[in-house]
């Protein structure tokens, strides 16, 4: 059915948009690399493919005059989701152009901002591209060569969005969201109770004294080991008593 297909494609676009934003955040920092530039390029192209597919599908559905009122309301809701996704994508593309220009990689001394992020982003890109592992095959001057393509693509996306606004008459404010406030808490997503929540470092005082940090960790694990042995000893004593009863 048209609706299900639409939703699946929108979910895919949403996923790629989120991954793309994540990659752009790493631009210009110590996580930046030739690989990141290639990841950005591939993710961006995938996003655009999905965008075009979504737009085609949704415009066809919305142009159909024979659909029911409920269906139409649903498609309008999907349309608003789609255009919000495009909004984010367009801004992130423009920003990646700006930051990419300011932080070229093929220079004698790189001045990447030391943000504390040093790991690679290939898992994020792999998620966007729906592959197991990313393959890197670009030239070493991708940081400058890609910028021209990016400019063209930005123009294309902006044009597409303008056309969308002109051709499809959907009043976004008339759309009512399905999710209520706090809906995100009800999901069964694996992220909710991950370690990310436990280590809310920014709120607490991190132990930034090196010696103190080491000792703290050490005494914690020693304590756990001691407790373990105590429990084992108690269990052995009880077992001996039971056996001897």
């Amino acid at each position: 059915m048209g609706k299900e297909e639409c939703k699946t494609m929108l979910d895919a676009l949403n996923k790629v948009t989120a991954c793309y934003r994540h990659l752009v955040i790493a631009l210009g920092s110590t996580s930046d690399s030739q690989n990141l530039r290639e990841e950005l390029k591939k993710t961006r192209k995938k996003a655009q493919e999905l965008a075009v597919a979504n737009r085609t599908k949704l415009t066809t559905l919305l142009k159909d005059k024979t659909i029911s009122k409920d269906d139409r309301a649903e498609y309008e809701r999907l349309w608003v989701l789609f255009s919000s996704s495009m909004e984010l994508l367009e801004v992130d593309m423009k920003r990646s152009l700006e930051i990419g220009q300011d932080f070229p990689l093929k220079v004698p001394t790189r001045h990447l901002i030391q943000t504390g992020m040093t790991g690679s982003t290939n898992a994020v890109a792999a998620r966007a591209m729906s592959v197991q592992n990313m393959k890197y095959e670009a030239d070493s001057n991708i940081d400058t060569a890609d910028l021209r393509d990016l400019q063209t693509e930005i123009t294309q996306v902006s044009q597409m969005m303008e056309e969308m606004e002109m051709k499809v008459q959907v009043a976004p404010w008339a759309v009512v969201a399905k999710q209520e406030a706090g809906a995100e808490l009800k999901s069964n997503m694996s992220v909710g109770n991950s370690s990310v929540g436990v280590i809310s470092i920014c709120e607490e005082e991190p132990k930034d004294d090196e010696g103190g940090g080491g000792r703290e960790g050490g005494s914690g694990s020693i304590g756990a080991v001691v407790v373990f042995f105590v429990i084992v000893a108690v269990a052995l004593v009880l077992g001996y008593l039971v056996v001897n009863m």
């Binding site: 790493a26 943000t115 930034d208 960790g217």
Partner: protein, 484 residues
């Protein structure tokens, strides 16, 4: 639609707007940059931390400034979000001790080109909601509900995107995830500050950089030029008159070294405005809050056929006073048209529009201004000195809200020194003054019971009978008061 200007192929393009970014980048230099330390958190180690003390020391050494200036410069870097504190993230100060700080990633640098949007904030709050299992801070909960109402049509997208962004960040290793969380939090603490905290962005990002610029000049220029530019910028020696003009509110405090001069200026202001203060002198025809007669407001509204005398007198107090009054500006424009120098005021007005107008329209407005006023052979070409013109033309390549500031200031002072005194002596102004009306004080009625009684509007805390009898009179009160 706005497109970014064409990039220079390869190489680094300079951000005209922010010299703070130049400072940031200089700090990254492998040889001459900041000394980095590791941050240890329980079991994770995150690199690239620095102490406040190190930052101050580096600034002092790099730009050859004193400790006080380095402290101020460092404060700016923290307050505008280029560096964020790792301990006590809500306290945006630079402590010159062992407190740890870290650099912010370029995506989250404060920029007028990319203002933080409601949609992004909603997504951030939704993400935080998920991570904290619903335990948001009070003011965040309020803003969350507000956003839920305001952008309800796209709320499904907010939830979807929040979930996906969290899933994406799960693909990074733990240390990077922690850094990302801290970065985001720091960004939103600046762009959506908690209630009670001053929003730094109201000061104008690029304007504050004027003070910061001095330090950056030290490095990029030849030593001889350093002296020249120091003198030209008039650091610490900007005329107090310019500061009091209200153009540089932040630097005024730093630059008015002559306190006697400052006191004199303030005293003059007080004397001038004494007669114009409705509390000191009373207001004619009558105080609307007492007499329920709104004549005072109608006579002083923005555009009237005949202005009051006090108002026209105020135009002679200062140029800013004349320009901030809509009628004054109109009169002045008529005068300038007679003198064939009206393009100056038009230009000034257009620049004000850019400074105070919508962000999305800035680029096209700047283009219009360039076409009409600055391009060679333009229809209404304004006379700006070559140095300012060059600087402005450079700035136009990367237009932002304050790109026209220097040119605008130049024209402002041109008008102030040249046209404004002549306007005050002109027949046009004198006729205006003569025509201006001095309202008569409304005569109090002879019969006491004919006078309208003074009464305050009913307190919302009161309910029931006592309010009822005042309702009749309160109705007329509110009708009169709602004229505003």
């Amino acid at each position: 639609s706005s497109h970014p200007p064409a990039p220079a192929p390869g190489g680094r393009s300079t951000h005209d707007g922010s010299s703070m970014e130049k400072v940031l980048v200089a700090m990254q230099d492998p040889d001459m940059g900041m000394k980095m330390r590791n941050q240890r958190l329980l079991i994770t180690v995150i690199p690239h931390a620095m102490t406040g003390h190190d930052i101050i020391t580096w600034l002092i050494q790099k730009y050859h400034i004193c400790e006080e200036e380095a402290l101020h410069l460092g404060e700016m870097l923290v307050k505008y979000g280029y560096i964020y504190p790792l301990k006590e993230p809500r306290c945006l100060v630079l402590r010159p001790d062992e407190s740890p700080y870290r650099f912010q990633t370029p995506y989250f640098w404060t920029s007028t080109r990319w203002p933080a949007s409601e949609l992004d904030y909603a997504i951030y709050l939704a993400k935080k909601n998920i991570r904290k299992q619903g335990e948001l801070v009070e003011y965040e909960k309020e803003r969350y509900s507000l956003l839920h109402k305001r952008i309800n049509h796209t709320w499904d997208f907010v939830v979807m995107q929040a979930r996906e962004q969290l899933r994406a960040s799960k693909q990074r290793r733990k240390a990077d995830r922690i850094v990302l969380e801290c970065q985001e939090q720091a960004y939103w603490l600046i762009n959506r500050p908690p209630p009670g905290v001053q929003n730094m962005l109201d000061w104008g990002l690029e304007r504050v950089c004027l003070f910061v610029c001095v330090c950056v000049y030290h490095v990029s220029l030849h030593p001889q030029q350093i002296e020249t530019s120091r003198r030209a910028l008039g650091r610490n020696r900007v005329k107090s008159s310019i500061c009091l003009e209200g153009y540089w509110p932040l630097t005024a405090a730093f630059c008015c070294t002559n306190t006697i001069n400052l006191c004199v200026c303030v005293r003059v202001l007080l004397c001038q405005y004494q007669n114009h203060d409705p509390i000191m002198q009373g207001c004619l025809p009558s105080n609307p809050w007492i007499s329920d007669d709104i004549a005072y407001w109608t006579m002083n509204s923005e555009i009237v056929p005949v202005p009051t005398r006090l108002r026209v007198e105020r135009w002679s107090f200062s140029f800013m006073e004349l320009l901030s009054d809509a009628m004054g500006r109109r009169e002045f424009m008529t005068y300038l048209e007679k003198e064939f120098s009206a393009e100056n005021l038009h230009f000034w007005q257009e620049c004000e529009e850019i400074r105070h107008g919508e962000s999305s329209k800035i680029i096209e407005k700047v283009e219009d201004v360039y076409k009409n006023f600055l391009a060679p052979g333009a229809a209404r070409w304004v006379n700006i000195d070559s140095k300012t013109m060059d600087k402005t033309l450079e700035g136009i390549k990367r237009p932002h809200r304050f790109v026209m500031d220097d040119a605008q200031m130049h024209i402002y002072f041109l008008m102030k020194k040249d046209s404004y005194p002549r306007y005050l002596k002109s027949d046009l102004y004198k006729n205006m003054l003569a025509k201006a009306v001095v309202p008569q004080e409304t005569k109090k009625s002879v019969f006491p019971f004919m006078r309208r009684q003074r009464h305050s509007s009913p307190s919302p805390a009161q309910a029931g009978a006592p309010a009822a009898e005042e309702d009749g009179r309160a109705g007329t009160n509110s009708a009169a008061g709602s004229h505003f």
